[in-house]
Amino acid sequence: MTAFILARLIRALAVLLFTVTLVFVVLRLSGDPAQQMLSDNAGPEALAAFNAKWGLDRSIPEQYLYYVANVLHGDFGVSFADGRDVFTVVSERIPKTLVVTISAFILSIVIGVPAGIIAAVRRESALDKGVMAAAVLGYSVPNFLLGLVFIFVFAVWLRVLPSSGSSTWNHAILPVATFALFNAAAVARFMRSTLIDVLAQPYIAAARADGIPHLEIVLRHALPNAAIPMVTTLGFVAGGLLGGSALIEPVFSWPGLGSGFVNATNTGDLPVVQAMIVLFTAFMVAINLIVDVLYAVLNPKIRKH
């Protein structure tokens, strides 16, 4: 098991290094930052001065090594837009995004998992059909649209919640609700289908034939086996929440990583974009690592080897 985790850790670091490299290459290919940042009528001297200032006049391999070394130190350079340290610019947005995504994640589990379990155990009942109808609805409405609907209903029409900003806890309610509803729907659907699969297994029939009470069958036999595919799915959900922040945060003007990423891309703020991509990748890799470790803990086939 230690070897398993060590192997996953090494793989995670390799993925990170690969991403750092890819980001470097792709962004160098996407155009001359000096021309993007300065106005079109800037003279060659101004361009040269800009390139010299940001180290863009050196050879590409040199720039790469310099860049990797800096990244390892947590130094992503300085924002083109306002000259502030990229690390500061990005890190002040991290808690904002984490507050929304983690609350939404917990909420989608708290709602989605029990809903899926009830639907699976009471399969084909009115309760099941109701839960699944709600889940299909929640899942098929795009979450940014749901966000706009929420703003209209709660901020414009009922005037009970603020539509944008992040100054109070109330401001977090709508983004969290939007995110959580969409993902709770996905979690509920997957929980239901996974549990139905497990409940159809011969070992469940065997437990029934042995007279094991229904509740015990669900809790002791079915759920631990359903947990393994669920962990994988929850990993995807967590990743989707982070990625989705680029869609949801701008809707609510929530000053997190998502809206920061959109802004930086629009203004061509290369250092910020780079740092954001590396950070998002680091989050994803961390989520995957957690999934792998949980998977090993839950699955005796991996645990015992």
Binding site: Q201, P202, Y203, A205, A206, A207, R208, A209, D210, G211, I212, P213, E216, R220, H221, P224, N225, L298, N299, P300, K301, K304
Partner: protein
């Protein structure tokens, strides 16, 4: 009159399949008006092709599936009349052994936990007592008690099937349904498990229903046999009389399909054609579409089970079949009266 140990009467199960949202559901008659009686300590084999309804019959007998019509009585009590606590008592007295021993075991629990679960759940023993019982049961089925802490994936197929048998027998049931219990195993492992079952049969006073498509195996394990075709019993009786002189063309074809160990023995039974046809025929014999001996009468008149030469068979022409289904040397189909 004494109460029969296990009795099924007019037992039918129809599965409704919905192929699409607006499609008309199709009905599949998995078990069709079956009557069956089993005495305590009696062993019966249920034989048929896959799709003949034999597994559904097993699940109906254990009350794991509800019948569409008819009923099952165990020790005089209809399944339909059982309350929750009666069900628990019934489950303790009965057990199920399923086909694939890997999927029949919970991959997340050690085999000791799984075998002992019934003891703990039904408060028959405490934890320490359960450990002892599990250990001795493991040894009884030919495994080491040290295997208690293993997970199913750490065992071989034959070992897993022994575990499944141990789990079924730990509560000392009076009735066990073996549903293709050895079919998924290699022939050599099969032989070991059959030998185990035969030795357990001597020790334990249990009745069982052995469901299988393999006629060779059932011969050594049961007193009586019931041959199923499309949800019906087409022939049933003492294993020896049925095997020695089968009186139903389907039984004959099944027995003829078992390869002989003697290369000079030729199968003279005309082969049956096609595959199991599940479409419900309103009248006539369900086997007639594949039967080499079908007459006009088989289309119009449904043959019921009737006594012929010491067993029950559902064929209009039962008396006409010769004893032999195979003969030494070469013979042609002309040997059989058409």
């Amino acid at each position: 009159m004494s109460v029969p140990f296990l009795q099924a009467s007019g037992l039918s199960k129809i599965f409704r399949h919905k192929t699409g949202l607006f499609a008309k559901p199709t009905n599949q008659l998995a078990v069709n008006a079956i009557n069956l009686e089993l005495a305590a300590r009696e062993r019966i084999g249920v034989v048929g092709e896959s799709g003949s309804g034999k597994s559904t019959l097993g699940r109906l007998l254990l009350g794991l599936t509800e019948p569409t019509e008819g009923g099952v009585w165990f020790e005089g009590v209809n399944h339909k009349e059982r309350q929750a606590q009666d069900w628990t008592a019934f489950r303790i007295r009965t057990a199920l052994v399923q086909q694939n021993p890997l999927s029949a075991l919970n991959p997340q629990m050690t085999i000791g936990q799984q075998i002992g679960e019934g003891l703990l759940v039904h408060h028959i023993t405490g934890r320490a007592g359960a450990r002892d019982r599990v250990a001795s049961m493991l040894e009884r089925v030919g495994l080491s008690s040290a295997m208690m802490n293993r997970y199913p994936h750490q065992m071989s197929g034959g070992q897993r099937q022994r575990v499944v048998i141990a789990r079924a027998l730990i509560l000392e049931p009076k009735l066990v349904i073996f549903d293709e219990a050895v079919s998924a195993l290699d022939v050599s492992v099969q032989a070991q498990v059959v030998a185990l079952l035969r030795s357990l049969r001597q020790e334990l006073e249990l009745a069982y229903v052995f469901i299988t498509h393999d006629l060779r195996i059932v011969r050594h394990l049961v007193d009586r046999v019931a041959v199923m075709y499309l949800g019906r019993i087409v022939e049933t009786g003492d294993i020896r009389s049925v095997y020695e002189w089968p009186r139903h063309p389907y039984t004959r074809a099944l027995l003829a399909s078992v390869p002989s160990m003697d290369p000079t023995v030729r199968n003279i039974e005309p082969p049956i054609k096609g595959e199991l046809d599940g479409s419900i025929l309103s009248t006539g014999c369900t086997f007639r579409t594949r039967c080499p001996f079908a007459l006009d009468r088989c289309v119009t008149e449904t043959p019921g089970l009737r006594f012929v030469a010491g067993r029950q068979t559902a064929c209009h022409r039962a008396e006409e079949f010769p004893q032999a289904i195979a003969k030494q040397g070469s013979l042609t189909r002309k040997d059989i009266a058409r």
